[in-house]
């Protein structure tokens, strides 16, 4: 496991919405745009492990990617990623405005929000106006 700090800018998915809002970094700790990465990699058919009614799963085990999991101390733990999964439906959908972006997310999608000096995980259905994400973006509605 590796530790990384840094921001967590995110954007809406063009098609599917991950159950958990994935924060992905490369081997140097640089944040990656998951949607752009998925769109690029889905053009390589050998990486597609599943692309069906349920969703898309891509193999990324050879790309030295890590997913960031926030800890209570405010740091991120990085775990290697072998697959990226984009389920097409993973539950009830909600519309949220975060920063300037209005996006559809599943009710059980997890966001990391600031709570004083620490970070905590909040499901989309419990996300309230005024909360600030780990990335610094504010929740408006």
């Amino acid at each position: 496991m590796q530790k990384f700090g840094g921001s967590s800018k995110r954007r809406a998915s063009s098609v599917a919405v991950p159950v958990e809002q994935v924060m992905l970094v490369d081997g140097q700790g640089q944040r990656l745009d998951v949607d752009a990465l998925v769109e690029t990699l889905r053009k390589e058919p050998q990486r597609i492990l599943a692309d069906d009614e349920v969703g898309l799963v891509l193999y990324v085990g050879d790309l030295n990617l890590y997913t960031l999991k926030p800890t209570e101390s405010g740091e991120f733990l990085a775990a290697p990623v072998t697959e990226i999964s984009r389920p097409r439906f993973s539950g009830r959908m909600l519309r949220k405005q975060i920063g300037a972006t209005v996006l559809s997310v599943t009710a059980d999608a997890v966001f990391v929000v600031r709570d004083g000096d620490v970070l905590k995980k909040v499901r989309a259905e419990k996300l309230e106006p005024g909360m600030v994400l780990a990335s610094g973006e504010k929740v408006y509605r």
């Binding site: 098609v15 599917a16 085990g61 050879d62 993973s90 959908m93």
Partner: protein
Amino acid sequence: MTFRNELERKCFEAAKRALGGGVVIEHNRTIQIERALFPEVASFKGPPSKEIDVLVAEVLDRPKIVLLVSCKFLSRRAEPAHVQEWCAVVQAMNKYSDGTLYLGLVVSPTGFTSGCEAWATSHNLGIVPPIKGRSLVFAEDTVLRMFERVLVALRTRLRLRSDDFGSAPAFFDFVCRFVADFEGHEEATAGGRYFVMPKGWVSSFGEMYSAVGGGLIEDLRAVEDGTVMMLVGGSALRFNGARVEFGEYSSTDASTAATARCGKNLDMEPCTLEFIKSLVVGKAVTSAADFGDFVEFGLDRRLNLGLHRLGFHLISTEEPIEDHRL
């Protein structure tokens, strides 16, 4: 090939579809290990001999990887003993393997009790359906789709990399990732209205808009029992009053052309399809709304184009209304 029950037959057919050859069902099979040079083997092979029903699938040739599937046709949820039994089988096969990696999977359409997960995790066994989540019981058809999805993914995955499934809980996690996506899928897609063409996958309003939003209108057509909005690039949206279908549209669609009933402005003054097309072709889709009887698309933030079962309407959204009648 004979089958113990209907579940076994369906699992076999799913495995054949997913993997092609190399799939067999064996009943009352006495376990035969690959190496018999160790002292423990005597006790393992001694009475009572271990007989199992197993679906054997050769997933990869080099290195040789074999999947051993136990199909549990039970009236209630599988219990830890069922998983433990398969743990023992797979463990024994791997312990005395001569280079082959055996992976174990238990399929139980009625689900698993909570004690099963610990055994499956620690012994690197896949279980279908997943034990986590809100929905612990899935329809049998859904469970079979999960099973087939896992097999298709497993075959592709092992061709890319095969050296990391040997240690727990890598294979358990892999299977879990592929079946967990079914969680919430059925409830989210219940009462399907949106469908992706040509595969007929159930979809949603959000996905529909992702597919057509920003697209430029190339043509409008009235077909038998529906209307079609063609977009530049070969995609289209078809509406028939009950279903909204979008995606790739075949120009050889068998639907015959029909006469469209068209209206313009808020009072739905009759007009021709050619009139509407003259104003909307080349315009970008900038918004969408589903009103049940019709679906409506905003175009260039100036026009609203409605698709009905039997025709189209077009309204200007610019103010004041009277000065912007079409």
